[in-house]
């Protein structure tokens, strides 16, 4: 009896805790409206996100050129053996028309997928760069920052999507938010990609993200800078 009572008590406590947890959601501080604090508009959110992506892309660009300069001195990309990026399975529009043809939800989904796909590879990249003695600390810090930035960018884009959904701009067809899965940077051949290949691929993907976000912004909030 005492054991069962104890178990029940523990269960009850656990349930209560869970309940509390479930009720206590991540409520924003400014839940009571604009009087409490400044709530950024969708345009502001987009601007922040776009700036973030621009910063991320410039970091990746720098790292890639460093790699090319010091480790792979070749002209016009000759002799470079590159493999497919692991994100090539994600269908991304490769032109303006194609990008404009995509719906907002799809575009947002693509962005989120891309960002999600790079969460772990970037962490790996930083780890490998930190361990290797060829890289100076500056580069490894860049890689670390890049990984953090990608993570925050993903969070930001999720917030934007959330806002859009609240505003009714996004339909209910967006299912990629919760479906975005982490992907392992494994090439077709099964080998792990080298740092250079990772940088090459990420440089491209960050450019894609930035571009898609701009298109999305000018499509949704075309007031300024469009």
């Amino acid at each position: 009896m005492s054991r069962s009572l104890k178990q029940v008590a523990v269960l009850l406590v656990a349930l209560l805790c869970l309940d509390l947890h479930s009720r206590v959601g991540s409520a924003p501080i400014c839940a009571h409206g604009p009087s409490g604090c400044h709530v950024p508009s969708l345009a502001d959110l987009f601007d922040r996100v776009i700036q973030h992506s621009a910063r991320m892309h410039s970091l990746s660009n720098d790292l890639h050129s460093e790699f090319e300069q010091y480790f792979l001195p070749s002209k016009n990309h000759i002799g470079k053996i590159y493999r497919k990026c692991h994100t090539s399975s994600i269908l991304t529009p490769n032109g303006k028309e194609n990008a404009q043809k995509l719906a907002r939800e799809e575009l947002t989904e693509v962005i989120l997928k891309l960002l999600m796909a790079w969460r772990d590879p970037l962490f790996q990249l930083h780890q490998s760069m930190a361990h290797q003695q060829d890289f100076n600390s500056f580069s490894s810090n860049k890689a670390l920052e890049m990984g953090d930035m990608a993570h925050e960018l993903r969070k930001g884009v999720e917030k934007v999507a959330e806002r859009m959904r609240v505003l009714g701009m996004l339909g209910n067809s967006v299912t990629g938010l919760s479906v975005a899965e982490a992907m392992l940077p494994i090439s077709d051949s099964g080998e792990a990609m080298s740092n250079y290949e990772l940088l090459y691929c990420f440089r491209r993907d960050s450019n894609k993200v930035q571009n898609y976000l701009k298109i999305l912004k000018c499509r949704i909030v075309p007031e300024h800078d469009c």
Binding site: A54, N76, N94, G95, R204, L216, R219, C226
Partner: protein
């Protein structure tokens, strides 16, 4: 084996032939650049490597990454010669293009090196369009507002491409451009441009990741001729004040001496009367000290001349004139310093009592031969009364109305203590003086000329008025002579008075008549030592029983002197020997800063006693 060998030989021969003919297969072409103006299309250019003498064709082949499908360039013409244009359909972003160019001629072909191209990274937009530069007038000053439009092909509207702009400005003559970043805006305000100058403006743009476009055509803008108001005013004020300061400084510099004089006036140095600085500088010490030396002192002249039996005093205008004459002046002037200002001298200058040499030069001015009359002129400071010795043969000195019209000067013993403010100016004569003249009782003269003159002639006294305020000096002792009844010779012309009475001269009327005061208290005017004025108390010289008095206006008043003299005279007159008179006289002398003349009992005046106090 044979076939391959034959082929080899044949190709070798063909090569030789072609080389001999100068033809060969084309050279290796080279892809120079690939550019995309709007991130939607792109163009690649190549350069041929040499045609080898034969017509050569070029073909561009590409394949996408991870794909082996080779495509040929879809458009060779749009972009011009040796170019390949990829339109929108053929352009894929974020995909690597592997491009090669193949040159082919009759003899062979040549393949260029492959080039990997990702269109996203080769974007170079067209130049901005419609660049306009307008001068905008603002209250702070005009500036130039440059505005432009995006290149037509770039699609920034959809956010597909983001352009950053840059403009540059310079004058025609400048070497360096001034570059301004405008960001994503399509206008820019340029400030700090110089007025009345023409400027060149150019604009270009760049995608966020890509190449800069070419600069636009130059746009010219001319700044208006303006002057910044605030600055100009301050500039004018500054220049004006600087100018004024410069002028003031220059003026001060030029007039620095007078400024120094104004600010720091020179302190007058001490001046010693009778001391000539120039003489000291010239180095002639003798002359310097000569001025300080009183000529004729100690008296070394002949005392005999001082002995007189009687004194005949008369005023001689002519003598005065003569004395003022130049012929005698030189001698007398020698003894006198030209700058003698009578400072520190007592009422009676002993010099006047001394026989002057200049008396020798004196003509017979009514006193006969040998009469020396002092001609004492101190630049007009003193006028002297000249008395002729009774020994002179001249006309009757006693007569008031001299025969020749000469007027006699009554020796002034002491002047009146009354204020000399009211002076009567006679005709041709100077201011009168109040003289109290002792009665000349005795006038001994071998010529029996009355010596008692109550006549006073006003001489031309070119002296200061102030002197008149002082009574006569102590030389009034000289008057003792006149009172010397003991001389012996009665004054025939003058009724002997039973008692000695001092008569005070009130004034002299125009007829040269002496107006005398009524007899007053003889004890009056005991004081008045320091009265100065015109007085005839100075005895210049006594010769031939003629007492020459000098009219001196700077002598002190010795009014009471007369009373003493009166007493003395009493004694003297009654007694023959002159000695008793001496001490009496001497005592009275001692009271005076100046020492008077010692009167001998017999009427002789001993001037030795008369020593100047200084």
């Amino acid at each position: 084996m044979r076939n391959s060998g034959a082929v080899l030989i044949l190709t070798f021969i063909a090569k030789l032939i072609s080389q001999a003919a100068g033809v060969s297969r084309p050279g290796k072409p080279r892809l120079t650049s690939c550019r995309s103006p709007e991130k939607e299309t792109f163009t690649c250019w190549w350069e041929p490597g040499g045609d080898g003498g034969l017509p050569t064709t070029y073909a561009l082949y590409y394949h996408l990454e991870n794909s082996e499908t080779v495509y040929e360039c879809p458009d060779y013409r749009t972009a011009g010669e040796n170019s390949c244009f990829f339109n929108k359909n053929d352009t894929s972003l974020w995909v690597n293009y592997n491009i090669t160019v193949v040159a082919t001629n009759a003899l062979g072909k040549n393949i260029s090196d492959p080039v990997e191209v990702d269109v996203v990274y080769i974007v170079q937009p067209n130049t901005p369009e419609n660049v306009t530069a307008v001068v905008v007038r603002d209250e702070q000053g005009p500036f130039v507002r440059v505005s432009w439009e995006k290149p037509r092909t770039a699609d920034t509207r959809s956010g597909w491409i983001t352009l950053l702009y840059q403009l540059r400005v310079k004058q025609e003559k400048d070497k360096e451009w001034e570059v301004y970043d405008a960001g994503m805006q399509k206008y820019y305000n340029v400030f700090s441009l110089h007025p009345d100058k023409e400027y060149m403006v150019q604009v270009r743009c760049k995608p966020d990741h890509g190449f800069w476009s070419e600069w636009t055509q130059t746009t010219y803008v001319k700044m208006p001729d303006y002057i910044p108001r605030e600055r100009s005013l301050w500039i004018m004020i500054t220049i004006f004040s600087v100018f004024i300061i410069l002028i003031l400084t220059w003026t001060l510099n030029v007039k620095r001496n007078s400024v120094k004089l104004c600010l720091l006036p020179p302190v007058p140095g001490p001046k010693i009367k009778g001391f000539e600085k120039q003489l000291l500088k010239s180095g002639k010490s003798e002359e310097v000290f000569n001025t300080l030396v009183i000529q004729g002192f100690p008296p070394t002249t002949d005392y005999d001349e001082l002995l007189v039996e009687y004194l005949e005093v008369y005023d001689n205008e002519e003598q005065e004139l003569v004395l003022d004459g130049k012929d005698l002046s030189e001698d007398c002037m020698k003894s006198k310093s030209p700058s003698d200002s009578d400072s520190g001298r007592g009422s009676c200058d002993s010099r006047t009592l001394l026989l002057e040499k200049c008396m020798e030069g004196r003509e017979g001015s009514g006193s006969g031969s040998g009469s020396d009359q002092h001609q004492y002129s101190q630049h007009g400071e003193t006028s002297w009364a000249s008395t002729e010795s009774s020994e002179s043969q001249g006309p009757e000195p006693g007569s008031p109305e001299s025969a020749d019209g000469r007027s006699k000067t009554w020796p002034v013993v002491f002047s009146s203590p009354q204020p000399q403010t009211h002076h009567h100016y006679q005709v041709g004569a100077a201011k009168p003086a109040y003289h109290s003249v002792p009665e000349i009782l005795n006038h001994s003269s071998p010529h029996t000329t009355p010596s008692n003159y109550h006549q006073l002639h006003h001489q031309d006294i070119p002296q200061q008025e102030g002197r008149f305020s002082k009574p006569a000096c102590r030389h009034s002792q000289s008057y003792n002579q006149f009172n010397l009844d003991g001389v012996g010779t009665p004054a025939p012309g003058v009724p002997p008075s039973p008692s000695l009475e001092y008569v005070e001269v009130q004034r002299v009327n125009p007829e040269n008549m002496l107006l005398l005061w009524p007899l007053s208290d003889p004890n009056r005017e005991l004081e008045g030592l320091d009265c100065a004025g015109e007085d005839y108390s100075k005895v210049k010289e006594v010769t031939n029983n003629i007492l020459l008095l000098q009219r001196d206006t700077s002598h002190q008043c010795v009014d009471y002197y007369s009373q003493d003299l009166d007493n003395q005279a009493d004694q003297c007159t009654t007694q023959q020997p002159p000695h008793p008179c001496k001490p009496a006289v001497h005592q009275s002398n001692s009271r005076m800063p100046h020492e008077g003349m010692r009167v001998m009992g017999n009427g002789y005046v001993d001037s030795t006693v008369l020593m100047p106090s200084y």
